[in-house]
Assembly symmetry: C2
DNA sequence: TTGTAGGCGTTATCAA
DNA sequence: TTGATAACGCCTACAA
């Protein structure tokens, strides 16, 4: 106990047993006599003993840390996702550590390295925009990894993701059914695979509805509130140039809705808006935001399950799980009368 | 390299040097010959060597992990706070690990224990609602700890917090100056110290303005969007019973604003609303939300600085730092004409 | 039911 | 400039 840190030896000394016995108590072994166990436990709490998991890991090899590397926590959706992962870890005897990359690839590398150095048993990662396989692949070569939401092609890692294409298709089809012919897709940048998938669903729905696909209606923007705002001038000048928009996600959609109001247009009446993710905020806008629900918690839970199972089995062949989305209809897209599309799924 | 994990011994073998030399290279010591260093580095990357920080910590005693224990990441304000802490750690050679408690004290205990077991060098903690000194004090007895935003009286730990009382006072005074006489305080529960402070500022401003303090105007609610919503019926029935509200935070304020609109009232025109925190969302509501800016990143940065300094010096006597707030005036409180109060600060 | 004796990967001390 | 050796705190045989 030289340095202030109490060890099992100190505990043993105090309880009058050897360190091995203390270790057995720690492990909850049935071999220890009840009286001994009690004495040891008492000594532990009196000394303020703290288990040194690092030492145990060093000896035993396996760590209980599960790393969550998330691209951007300022998007509420990813917070939901992280919460889903966390809760699932609880039940699985893993300790989840969360790291935020703020959509910064070099920060992401640092964070991953750090988790590896700390002996993480596995990683759930939602790659930052701008990540490259070249830099990530060698790092992740020896650790079970599950990608969530975003996918880096060429990476040998599992994936849990929503059915982006189908979700976007459902949403766009709804807008078309409501009579819109000039429907925009707003948000994200062309390099994002998730966006590609969502745009593909959007295009498919337009074609199925017999509408023309106008590339000018497919707009890029940062995936932030301001990104959504910025799109509005291009959307409504001249007025009626577009009359509806499917947004890359809810954050963009909310920014867009607010800018519409400021431009004198009523979302849901003069202009239809649909978002993607169905974050909690979508219920608390005026009008309520229609959104393609991705069920972030479920996605997170699924990813965590998969990862824990891969860790347990030692087999982490890449698998892919696509989770269904649901169109949650609120007022922002107008035409409440049409029955929900959920039934069609 | 038995178990797949490459050690410095393996690296040394490959490079034809001893593990001590490898260790020196790792530490960037100027003692090693350049040619040796090069050979060792090459061996490391060829073998895919990963530094085992657990082992180093076990040997050396000091860890590089800094734990952030946050009450609730689904409040965007605390995400900002966490980002501030993270960024500051970067510059200080600490690795920040984030854990979310979802406002759940027992989860919080687990998380803290886990961080201690992993040898965290220090903790930044924003205690969950319902935390007790009795359970926290023994845990934190031997580790530098800085509380942020929230304070547990009786805990021997530093605190970085905004000037809640003064912030609330400024906001309330503004509402009074705009001619409101029935001003409510909405959100939070009575047991929260932060709320106590904010309510105290609110009461003080009312008295300074010669207004009566009506306990019925001080309302509790969960600090969520729905919490804000729920307050509205009590606020506007009968119409004009209250004409303005200072909210516990922006999340409550945004929920409240939306419910106002649904009740047929225009925030900023028929009813004045001020929030607290100035989260990013406050700029993206319609109308823009007037808010007492707490500058979450700065608060986080300050807390991280303080903690790192306490770790470095080994002296962690409790200190308190109160950071000033600013009233950011947008449209939700009406009366744009009055000049901003910032100048008075 | 409990004690003894390594060894996990690293760093620090001391020799060479 | 490099190598040998002893800890760090824990767990796991194996012995008692």
């Amino acid at each position: 106990m030289r340095d202030g840190r109490v060890t099992i030896i100190d505990v043993g000394l105090k309880a009058g047993v050897s360190k091995s016995t203390v270790s057995l108590v720690l492990a909850g072994s049935p071999l220890v006599a009840d009286s001994t166990r009690a004495r040891v436990s008492k000594a532990m709490s009196e000394l303020g003993y703290v288990y040194n998991r690092g030492a145990a890991t060093l000896r035993g090899g396996k760590a209980d840390v599960l790393g969550m590397v998330i691209n951007d926590l300022s998007n509420p959706f990813f917070v939901e996702l992280a919460i889903g992962i966390e809760q699932t870890c609880q039940n699985g005897a893993f300790v989840p550590f969360l790291a935020n990359c703020s959509e910064n690839p070099s920060r992401q590398l640092q964070v991953i390295r750090s988790m590896l150095e700390h002996g993480a048993a596995g990683l759930v990662i939602s790659p930052s925009v701008g990540s490259t396989v070249a830099e990530l692949k060698p790092l992740l070569a020896d650790i079970p990894t599950v990608q969530v939401m975003r996918r880096l092609p060429g990476l040998r890692a599992s994936l849990v993701s929503p059915e982006n294409r189908e979700g976007a298709r459902k949403a766009t089809r709804r807008l078309a059914q409501l009579g819109h012919t000039r429907i925009a897709f707003v948000g994200g940048t062309a390099s994002m695979i998730v966006r590609e998938e969502r745009v593909a669903g959007y295009v498919q729905a337009l074609e199925e509805s017999g509408l023309k696909v106008d590339p000018k209606l497919i707009m890029e923007s940062p995936i932030t509130y301001s990104g959504g705002r910025q799109a509005v001038p291009r959307l409504v000048r001249p007025r009626g140039w577009a009359t509806a928009a499917l947004c890359f996600n809810d954050v963009v959609a909310i920014g867009l809705m607010n800018a519409l109001v400021e431009a004198g247009l009523r979302p849901g009446a003069d202009f239809a808006v649909i978002g993607f993710d169905d974050i909690i905020e979508a219920q608390h806008t005026t009008p309520g935001l229609t959104s393609v629900a991705v069920h972030g918690r479920d996605v997170g839970a699924r990813a965590a399950q998969m990862l824990m199972q891969q860790i347990a089995s030692g087999d982490w062949t890449a698998q892919t799980v696509l989770l269904p989305t649901t169109l949650v209809v609120r007022e922002s897209c107008g035409g409440k009368s049409i029955e929900s599309e959920d039934s069609e799924t």
